[in-house]
């Protein structure tokens, strides 16, 4: 019999949909608490040097202006770096806003003007006169390749890439060779919601902090560390986040400024960044890559060399896994990898959707396309001949890997066998048609997360965890998992998140939330089931006497015997009989934490294969991506509706990376020139045509109990490379400098 409460795997509309389409979903800058003051950030106009003088008198003379905060009047705060470090802080010393007169990068926040209204604060900030002394700065990565160094393991999760075999020997053994250089400019996340914090002053240094973040606990950690507040005093709330893409993985400086102003003025304060200021913190780093491949006569790879050099700030070592993927995606004995950083006078880069992999996969997968031509093989055939059934980088078997299915099902859906190899050989009227493909791999991670499940006397289940909703569907999938676990209709379940008073949950990122929180929801519900059974056994119901938890199931609002479904008890009645308002249970993370200390038994990854059609005007060289098929293997899909949307969005990101997105630095001034959504181009509706998402079946009983791998990043991989490869196929022009703008094709 099919249960009515069988929700996992069913396309389900977002439970937060009604709030979002009616405008009632509240984001950080939308908590209009009483007696609110507004802070407006003043950004440095120089790139490096120091502040000589801040002329606050004319600003403070304006009626309604409360204070101008700068390094001159910030009270004494925490002394040591560790207090300023957030959960994702890389090695080095975190930037401290308003700490000293020193300017370390363009647009560094130098002052906060606080006033009665937003209009007044903005005006007052515009008339704040600041004198600087400027010194020479360095923002050009290409000038500093010789200074580049191998970073340590400063950032959690980062491991330096491991080489194996003998690259030189493999290179000599090869009969076909490809060697190429790739470059990427900086990119900025640009979520639609600008960073903002509303601090509600509750008296006696008790604060409700509404923050835009991908981790409420992370925001709380830095606020308590820097300002010496207790966790009770610094409650961070983040119910909705208007896009993250990694930008909210580290707390941004408006949080510090808003809390500072609130504590100093003993008032509620809101600080919102402008779109221009959204270019003043972390970004995907400018990165240069070198890839060399050699294959034997049968097309099998005899050697892979992949080296990347990326920018970082003068004060932190931002690291990401750019080249490691090249040691595991294909079968190859001889792999030489390198990753180095060069310090520049910029802000520290930051994880941005598919960090590292988005860059590395572009270089590797364009190089593989070049190899297909060099070796005289179809690009798909080349990949199949080098298919890896074991993770050679970690020397571990895969928990599951359905990439072959992605290749085959994606190719079939796309019609890949109709492709003629010769560049420029396919036409649609006057237009050049190009077909390209590529693939990718991303980690399937599960981190310890705590979840509480509480059933009330009306039979309503509230499940809570301090995770975040950044648009990935967390509210919805957790509701589905909980409803299925407890055999309740979706309407009888509420999932609560985004609050540091809730059970501790990891940062929302890395594609690990579904697996980390989702499996913990099951654990908490299992514990709740045990508590309900225990209570039921106190009631006058002999059928449940001596019964173990494995012998009962939850369905249709009841607990019943697996052996005899007629022996059932209504869950609501169990809670009512307890005499308590609710029965609660919380999962334990001890096992999950112990598990993390053990060496892994399996390599756990999601994969994808992307097929792209472009049409290029031969005279104007305008590129239109007319068709995309993205076949994804990511374990069990919890909600095909929201999952498909995540992959659609990933494709849009890939198209942006391939064709549009770059933060252009003017090295004469050391600042980005295109700090707006008019000049930092992202895809719009007219750029998007036919996108087909395939989830290939992939059962995995090893990756985690629910068998899920996460979807936030994997869908983006391969997309930009496939576009570049399709453009080559259409035009015969191999562009290795992203994005592929018209000027590079003319």
């Amino acid at each position: 019999m099919t249960l009515q409460t069988n929700y996992i795997g069913k396309p389900t509309s977002r439970v937060d949909g009604p709030a979002k389409v009616t405008g009632t979903a509240k984001y950080a800058a939308e908590y209009n608490v009483p007696n609110l003051l507004y802070g407006y950030v003043v950004s440095s106009t120089i790139t490096k040097g120091k502040i000589i003088k801040i002329d606050t008198a004319p600003v403070l003379a304006l009626p309604g202006v409360h204070q101008v905060f700068s390094h001159e009047n910030v009270p004494s705060l925490a002394l040591f770096d560790r207090s300023y470090k957030d959960m994702l802080a890389p090695g080095g010393s975190p930037f401290r806003p308003l700490h000293s007169a020193e300017i370390k990068y363009s647009q560094q926040p130098v002052a906060l003007v606080v006033a009665d209204t937003f209009e007044l604060a903005r005006y007052a900030a515009s008339i704040l006169r600041i004198e600087y002394e400027e010194v020479a700065f360095e923002t050009e990565l290409r000038k500093h390749l010789d200074d580049a160094y191998e970073p340590g393991r400063g950032k959690i999760g980062f491991q330096p890439p491991k080489s194996r075999g003998n690259f030189g020997k493999g290179w000599k053994e090869g009969v076909a060779h490809v060697e190429a250089q790739f470059s990427h400019h900086a990119q900025h996340h640009n979520p639609m919601e600008n960073f903002a914090t509303t601090v509600e002053w509750l008296g006696d240094k008790n604060l409700n902090i509404y923050d835009k973040t991908q981790g409420a606990f992370n925001s709380q950690q830095v606020v308590t560390g820097i300002f010496g507040l207790s966790k009770e005093q610094a409650r961070v709330i983040s119910k909705y986040t208007g896009g993250g893409f990694g930008s909210g993985l580290r707390p941004q400086y408006q949080l510090f400024l808003a809390v500072l102003a609130s504590l100093e003025l003993e008032r509620s304060v809101r600080v919102s960044l402008t779109r221009e200021q959204m270019f003043s913190f972390g970004h995907r780093p400018e990165t240069l890559q070198h890839v060399a491949l050699a294959t034997a006569a049968d097309g099998s790879l005899t050697s892979i060399n992949h080296v990347a050099v990326a920018e970082t700030s003068q004060f932190e070592d931002f690291t990401e896994n750019v080249v490691g993927w090249s040691g595991m995606l294909y079968d190859c004995k001889n792999v030489q990898l390198g990753y180095r950083l060069a310090k520049l006078d910029v802000y520290t880069p930051l994880d941005m959707r598919a960090p590292g992999a988005a860059l590395g996969s572009v270089a590797l997968e364009i190089a593989m396309d070049e190899m297909a031509y060099a070796a005289g093989l179809d690009p798909l055939e080349l990949r199949l001949r080098n298919y890896s059934d074991r993770d050679q980088a970690q020397d571990l078997p895969f928990s599951s890997k359905a990439l072959r299915k992605c290749y085959h099902e994606g190719a079939a859906k796309f019609g890949w066998e109709q492709r003629t190899a010769e560049p420029g050989s396919m036409r649609d009227g006057n237009l050049l048609v190009g077909w390209g493909m590529a693939g990718g791999v991303w980690d399937a991670t599960k981190l310890p997360a705590t979840v509480k499940a509480s059933l009330d006397a009306d039979g309503h289940l509230t499940v809570s965890s301090g995770t975040n909703e950044i648009g990935t569907g967390t509210y919805t999938i957790m509701t589905q998992i909980a409803a299925e676990s407890m055999g309740l209709p979706l309407e009888a379940v509420t999932f609560v998140l985004g609050d540091t008073t809730l059970p501790v949950s990891p940062l929302q990122g890395g594609s690990w939330t579904a697996a980390s929180v989702g499996n913990s929801v099951v654990e908490a519900c299992t514990k709740l089931g045990e508590a309900l059974l225990k209570q039921a056994q106190k009631m006058d119901n002999p059928a449940f006497s001596g019964v173990k938890i494995e012998e009962v199931e939850f369905a249709n609002g009841q607990m019943r015997l697996r052996a005899d479904a007629t022996q059932a008890i209504v869950l609501r009645d169990v809670v009512q009989a307890s005499g308590e308002p609710s029965i609660e249970a919380e999962n334990s993370t001890i096992m999950a934490k112990l598990e993390m200390l053990k060496p892994p038994k399996y390599s756990m990854h999601a994969h994808n294969a992307v097929f792209v059609e472009v049409k290029v005007d031969p005279d104007l060289m305008t590129v239109h991506v007319t068709r995309v098929v993205n076949a994804v293997a990511a374990g069990r899909i919890l909600n095909p509706k929201t999952a498909r949307s995540q992959v659609l969005g990933s494709v849009v990101w890939g198209l942006g990376m391939a064709l549009m997105e770059e933060s252009v630095m003017d090295h004469r001034f050391g600042r980005y020139m295109n700090k707006s959504l008019a000049e930092y181009h992202v895809p719009v509706n007219a750029d998007i045509h036919d996108i087909d998402v395939i989830f290939v079946s992939e059962e995995d009983d090893k990756v985690n109990p629910l068998g899920i791998k996460g979807l936030g990043e994997v869908g983006m991989l391969g997309v930009a490379a496939a576009v570049a490869n399709a453009i080559y196929h259409a035009t015969g022009k191999r562009v290795r400098d992203m994005p592929i703008t018209i000027d590079k094709l003319l």
Binding site: A29, L62, S645
Partner: protein
């Protein structure tokens, strides 16, 4: 090399003034600085935070509202310029218990992820339906291109709008 930035301040600040606005069928009188945008008036003075600020420069469309049935970027209009007009925001389109056809279609087609651009997308779509301009997929794509969605929900936004446009066209015929 010392460097001085920014101009000296003007001597006085213009006083606030009373501004009357007609929003979602209700009249409001606010005391505003004359350079207050319609967007900030809605969000900061009327708690109508469904209208979003994404760029404040007319580049992203998140702040789209309808003025006399036509879509505008509320960040590019001063509140004082809208005295005597009929303003409709997302809060006036429908409620959770009584969604407009577009709001329902956006949920059905999963036409959003983070939700931040969504009110602007819905107002924009309602505006182009009001204007009678959108008939084909290509037209809708083009006319919805002033509304940036960083989550990349464009395909689903198109499906949602086309469903409602299709129903409207049927009624017309």
């Amino acid at each position: 090399m010392p460097q001085v930035t920014q101009a000296p301040p003007p001597a006085t600040l213009a006083p606030t003034q009373a501004v009357s606005l007609h929003i979602n069928g209700q009249a409001h009188t606010l005391q505003l600085a004359p350079w207050t945008t319609l967007l900030d008036a809605l969000r900061e003075y009327l708690d109508l935070t469904g209208t979003k600020k994404g760029c404040d420069h007319g580049q992203c469309g998140a702040c789209t509202v309808l003025v006399d049935g036509k879509r505008i970027n509320s960040c590019l209009s001063l509140a004082v310029m809208q005295e005597g007009t009929d303003i409709q925001t997302i809060e006036g389109m429908g409620t959770e218990g009584s969604l407009s056809p577009l709001q329902q279609a956006f949920i059905d087609h999963d036409a959003f992820q983070c939700g931040y651009c969504t009110p602007g997308q819905i107002c924009s779509a309602q505006g182009l339906i009001n204007e009678g301009k959108a008939k084909t997929e290509a037209e809708v794509r083009e006319l919805m291109s002033g509304n940036v969605c960083r989550c990349g929900a464009y395909s689903n936004i198109l499906s949602a709008v086309m469903e409602v446009v299709g129903k409207e066209l049927k009624i017309e015929n």
